[in-house]
Point group: C2
Chain length 390, copies 2
């Protein structure tokens, strides 16, 4: 197998992979040419990721040679959203008596697995993040991966030292991994929720909070109460699961989470997706109608929505007017300073414009502040202040 | 010249048109094939419209054979927007001492011209609207078009009997045409603002309100005052012009107009453009910062924004929940009932789903209520209430 770019992949490798996937060779060749199947780089160049959904193989799925065959780590299945709780939950889970309700945490999705003897943290898109990988190796009980090399942990990296989605709301000092799924390699088959909880407890892993199994009949009402409680502390929402993990799960989020997303989106209004913004706004409309809110609560929702949009927008516009640059301040905490350097190169490779400050010792680790520059919003705003037309 | 679809256009016609436009024949052929140059239908099938901007010929430009050559009615030049008044106006008009400031009315853009002896109302996209055409023939002093067959009036159809953008705010009983530009056929060359005003007054045409010529130096401040005044009565904003109409004009709008647009967009949240919504929100951010508003005014802006979004969204979601269909109620007033039938067919042809009620006599005319069905928002909202996932 050739090293380097996709272009150098040998015909033998293509043939072998085609056989494994059950695709014809021309199709695999085409996937490589289009970079829909793309090689990771440097020390992880043996690892290929699907950069696009292909024949029900999720985007972000990775694969690599193992012995004389391949091993596959399936991507994160997209969890669909209930816009209203009733009748959506009853309809979607109609053949169940109970649903398992778990907290949906606001962090960074990561798969952790034993890949040819190394414990790697693989992002939603199928990259190996060097920072997340170091943290996983520091934080997790690695014995699990020796005992179950065929299993993959699906979890959320959460906390203030998360350079992707830093959050203080969980009372975590640095970062922790909260597991929400265990799936088999190759098939992607998930473990039932109770089996997963039992196994993770045994190894001392953190898991997303469970609200128990709730009868389908009362689920919409009970989940509405849970959501209102979670919202009070800015927590994101819930994932509603078939306890046997046969039916696909659903998600539902709090108003506070929608508004928090909007605050972030409007701070960087020129890079945030239009659909991202709109969907969060529309959720507010459905929630207020489904929950039959009175005029006082509705007025509060309007104010909160207006402020969530206009406050960050005003801040950004003012900052640029005052001649400063817009950036997002995040931080990481590493054991080995080399991890920070690797992470810096990794972000550069992904096209993220980030400025790394000097590492500061903290205990036996190092804290590094990072400024992620939001070039598009910055440049657009500056141009407008200089008289450019929309 | 063949009748019917674009496909039947004769090679002779293509050659003749290519000569006139200064394009090669293959290019004209290609424009027809792609429908970038498209034939209007039925009694106006002699009229071609540009459905796409081509070599600086604006989208919506129309042309037709006249004698042994062609006559062209240029499209509406897109007026660019100042996101902030200062320095944008000073920079854009830097070589002028004064700018002409006129009201930007909220109506429907239409060109009225003498086309082979008939007075036609041509929409922004280059269609001949039968309703607007009848109204133009009823409302306007037609002598002008005999006296100046080489000139085209660019105006706004405004008022409650406007089936596109019905507005009560101008105190108009039915509809009126407010002229804001006069341009020559073929060249598209505009008349200076004073010349246009003089000519239109002589013939008794209505014109958009003029706020006079304002020194460039004080224009941003003075225009801000005008905008605040216009906003109080929900009026849209201003167009800032070079009095000689050499430099292209700029526009700037009131917060109330942004919010009014948002109210409409969120009522039909699934058909409104995402960029349309976002741009109106972002304008609010720049305006509050440029005008250096205090916290009280800022809070008002937040509430107004939140309500402009969430109120119509809640209404639509509730209406569908209650089993009713979402539609927009508009009305027209015609002299000849045949015009209503023609207009109904015209909307159908454009893919607009509209229900026309029975004409009601009013004076020597007929009023017809029309329900424009917003199928996309309706269907999406209904599906969500039935448990469909986002």
């Amino acid at each position: 197998m050739n090293k380097g770019e996709n272009g150098e992949i040998s015909p033998d490798f293509v043939a072998q992979l085609a056989g494994f996937l059950g695709f014809d060779e021309g199709r695999v060749q085409h996937l490589f040419e289009k970079n829909y199947l793309a090689r990771n780089w440097e020390k992880h160049d043996y690892l290929f990721r699907f950069d696009k959904e292909v024949s029900r193989i999720e985007r972000g799925t990775v694969l690599y040679e193992k012995g004389d065959t391949f091993e596959v780590i399936m991507g994160f299945p997209k969890i669909r959203r209930a816009m209203v709780l009733d009748p959506t939950i009853k309809k979607h889970f109609s053949r169940l008596e109970k649903v398992a309700v778990e907290e949906k945490m606001n962090g960074y999705n990561v798969r952790v697995a034993n890949v040819k003897g190394n414990i790697l943290a693989i992002t939603r898109s199928g990259y190996v993040c060097p920072y997340t990988t170091e943290r996983a190796n520091v934080k997790l009980n690695l014995k699990f991966f020796d005992d179950f090399p065929e299993l993959v942990l699906y979890g959320e990296m959460v906390g203030p030292d998360n350079p992707y989605v830093p959050k203080e709301i969980y009372g975590i000092e640095s970062v922790e991994f909260y597991i929400f799924d265990i799936r088999e390699k190759n098939t992607g088959k998930p473990l039932p929720t109770s089996k997963r909880r039992e196994m993770m407890e045994k190894y001392g892993f953190l898991q997303v909070r469970a609200f128990g199994e709730i009868p389908l009949e009362t689920a919409p009402e009970e989940i509405a109460d849970i959501i209102r409680e979670l919202g009070k502390t800015e927590h994101e929402g819930v994932v509603i699961k078939d306890p046997d993990m046969v039916l696909p799960p659903l998600k539902y989020t709090s108003s506070q989470s929608n508004c928090s997303d909007l605050r972030h989106a409007f701070r960087f209004y020129n890079e945030a997706g239009r659909d991202y913004m709109l969907s969060r706004i529309v959720r507010e409309g459905f929630q207020t109608v489904e929950w039959d809110e009175d005029e006082t609560d509705f007025e509060k929702r309007c104010i909160q929505l207006g402020e969530s949009i206009l406050n960050p927008l005003r801040d950004s516009i003012r900052i640029v007017k005052n001649g400063q640059r817009l950036y997002e301040e995040v931080r990481i905490r590493v054991k080995d300073p080399k991890t920070a350097t690797e992470f810096e190169n990794y972000l550069k490779r992904l096209g993220v414009d980030a400025i790394f400050e000097t590492p500061q010792p903290i205990g036996n680790e190092y804290m590094i502040n990072i400024k992620k520059v939001n070039k598009s919003t910055n440049d657009k705003t500056q141009a407008i202040w200089e008289g450019e037309l929309w």
